[in-house]
């Protein structure tokens, strides 16, 4: 397994990441400029970390303290770049055979292995084509074949779907997922799309401004987001604050920077995260009289259909703290909601999860 601690300073940007992979796919998700590609390049050996240590299984690839730094061509790491970087002057066959030839393997071995890999990736009919004569999805399969034929211990994928147009992306996403699931090696899958991270990642690492802010399973991330970025990705209201009061009914009050919330008491004391699903929030024009312990009053900032042109609408509110509610289209019409209208947002303390 990969164990990496890397530090890389580039101007004002600093990447400082500790990443251990597990069997299966580790999705690294973050916005562009967060350091995703740099991280992959450091792991692959295309750039040299300022400090840290990279090991894969028993092999030490980089150790700043010991002065070890293996060049890229001596690492058992497959790397598929965002734009695939297929050699334009070589046929599909020669692209896939490239790495085996570079190692000087006997012709017969090369032919057998390339043939098997081409077959596995359904490229047998395209062997004599040049990359320019391939579709985006085919190019991606060639790039994968070219890396996989070398039987790497770790496969790095940099935004593998972003070079594809939207029409084919969905189909290829499914195919790629199946392929990765069957791979014997671990995969690090870099993406800016939270959806892709959820689909592909057995383990998900969130990268923000050069740092991993949360690493965990898909479920962990969904249930317990720990950074505003992850919360935004998931469309969840996330707050952070301290418990200031609690009653006998198991309800605690948490004070955040913007106001107080009533939550199901997580026990203990100190700082907690508070997550409120937008679907738990109900909107009213008059003050609600029901059992909602949390009621906030404020104007509507914007209304966004969710999913685009869907049956539900996300309503962003300028309450304190700021909230996003998700209601049905019918509710929007019945209440006559539009931007600037003042509403009451209510939700139960039991609909709120608090965790550390």
């Amino acid at each position: 397994m990969l164990r990496a601690t890397v530090v890389k300073q580039r101007g004002a940007f600093r990447l400082e990441v500790r990443l251990d992979t597990q069997p299966g796919t580790t999705a690294v998700v973050g916005e562009s400029g967060a350091g995703k590609t740099t991280l992959l390049r450091l792991l692959a050996g295309l750039e040299r970390p300022d400090a840290g240590r990279i090991t894969l299984g028993d092999s030490v690839y980089f150790d700043a303290a010991a002065g070890v730094s293996l060049p890229a061509w001596e690492r058992a790491i497959g790397f598929v770049a965002q734009d695939y970087a297929l050699f334009p002057h070589l046929t599909v066959w020669a692209n896939v055979a490239f790495g085996l030839r570079a190692q000087g393997l006997p012709r017969h071995t090369i032919r057998v292995q390339v043939g098997a890999t081409l077959e596995r990736l359904r490229l047998t009919g395209l062997t004599d084509r040049h990359p320019a004569a391939l579709s985006g999805g085919q190019q991606q399969r060639v790039a994968l074949a070219r890396a996989l034929v070398l039987e790497p211990s770790l496969l790095l994928l940099d935004e593998p779907l972003s070079a594809l147009d939207l029409g084919t992306r969905q189909t290829i996403r499914g195919e790629l997922r199946e392929l990765l699931a069957r791979l014997p090696c671990a995969t690090v899958y870099v993406t800016h799309s939270p959806l892709e991270a959820m689909v592909f990642g057995d383990q998900i690492a969130v990268i923000e401004a050069g740092q991993l802010t949360q690493v965990g399973s898909r479920e962990d991330l969904l249930r317990h987001p720990r950074s505003p970025y992850v919360a935004t990705l998931l469309g969840i209201n996330l707050f952070h604050g301290g418990i200031v009061d609690r009653d006998r009914q198991g309800i605690a009050r948490v004070r955040t920077a913007d106001g107080e919330l009533a939550v199901a008491d997580p026990g203990g004391s100190g700082e907690v995260f508070v997550a409120v699903s937008p679907r738990e929030i109900t909107l009213y024009l008059e003050p609600p009289t029901g059992s909602a312990q949390n009621v906030f009053h404020g104007p509507i900032l914007e209304l966004v259909p969710e999913p685009p042109a869907g049956e539900r609408v996300r309503v962003a509110l300028r309450t304190s703290p700021p909230l996003v509610a998700e209601v049905t289209k019918q509710a929007v019409e019945a209440l006559g909601l539009h931007e600037g209208v003042w509403v009451y947002a209510g939700f139960k303390a039991t609909g709120v999860t608090a965790y550390r």
Partner: protein
């Protein structure tokens, strides 16, 4: 659009067309002057005379060897200049380009002083009984000296143009730098490298100044086509014209081939992301 503005635009076009016409005439007139003096039949007949034949043979031989030497030395140099950073790189680049602007006669004097009997390298070679000036080897060295910048600059530009993502891909596919150069960098830079070779060959073929200073003018040994033209001018004007026409045809063919070869821009295509 107002009238005067349109007029001034037209005037600019007219000036450009006139200037182009004048330059074209200046270039074309001497060529026509040569071509009208020689009938195709005479050209073929004269081609067989010993003087012309030996000069032609020597020119082709020396310029080809010079080009191959330039490639052998220049390609690794271009690789270093295109991919590495090292102290003194700027100075080296200027030095490599220098022969392009240096008068060839100056180059010839320099070569003579370096390789002559009393020269820096000449004395060392002399102890082995070797003397380079006024030999065919001197012709080749003179040609290498004046023509190498054409190859190196073209090859450096070509290698630099190859996108780093291909070199990176090669490295992650277990290719050591030498293999990556041979199988990725060089093939992708081939159009520039080949045109650099053609330019170098053409320049070597036309070399005169440095050759006559350093190698002299010995028929069959150092008298290349340009030198033969110069000599013939004093004794047999028509022979000089024929030789000139041969050089003209060779040069034109080379440059024309360079413009219209199929290798031009062959790999300048988008490799990925077209998403067809």
């Amino acid at each position: 659009m107002t009238g005067p503005r349109r007029l001034s635009a037209l005037a600019w076009e007219a000036v450009a067309a006139l200037a182009t016409g004048a330059l074209f005439l200046l270039l074309l007139l001497p060529l026509l002057g040569l071509l009208v003096r020689v009938a195709p039949g005479e050209l073929l007949a004269r081609l067989g005379t010993p003087l012309i034949l030996s000069a032609l043979r020597l020119s082709l031989y020396t310029s080809t060897l010079a080009t191959l030497s330039v490639v052998a030395l220049g390609l690794p140099t271009a690789y270093l200049l295109a991919t590495k950073h090292f102290p003194g790189k700027r100075v080296l680049e200027v030095l490599i380009d220098l022969p392009m602007v240096l008068p060839p006669t100056v180059a010839g004097v320099g070569l003579l002083l370096a390789f002559g009997r009393a020269g820096l390298a000449g004395r060392a070679l002399g102890t082995f009984g070797l003397s380079i000036p006024f030999t065919t080897l001197a012709v080749i060295i003179a040609q290498v000296f004046v023509a190498s910048p054409f190859f190196v600059s073209a090859a450096v530009a070509g290698l630099r143009e190859v996108e780093s993502r291909y070199v990176d891909a090669a490295a992650t596919l277990r290719a050591q730098p030498a293999f990556a150069f041979r199988h990725v960098l060089l093939p992708l830079a081939l159009p520039s490298v080949l045109s650099g070779m053609v330019m170098t060959w053409a320049r070597a073929l036309g070399e005169f100044g440095a050759t006559i200073m350093f190698a002299g003018n010995l028929t069959g040994r150092t008298q290349t086509l340009p030198l033969a033209v110069y000599m013939a001018l004093e004794t047999d004007l028509q022979a000089a014209v024929v030789l000139s026409v041969i050089l003209l045809i060779l040069s034109f063919t080379l440059l024309f081939a360079l413009r219209f070869t199929p290798w031009r821009g062959r790999w300048r295509m988008r490799a990925a992301g077209d998403g067809r």
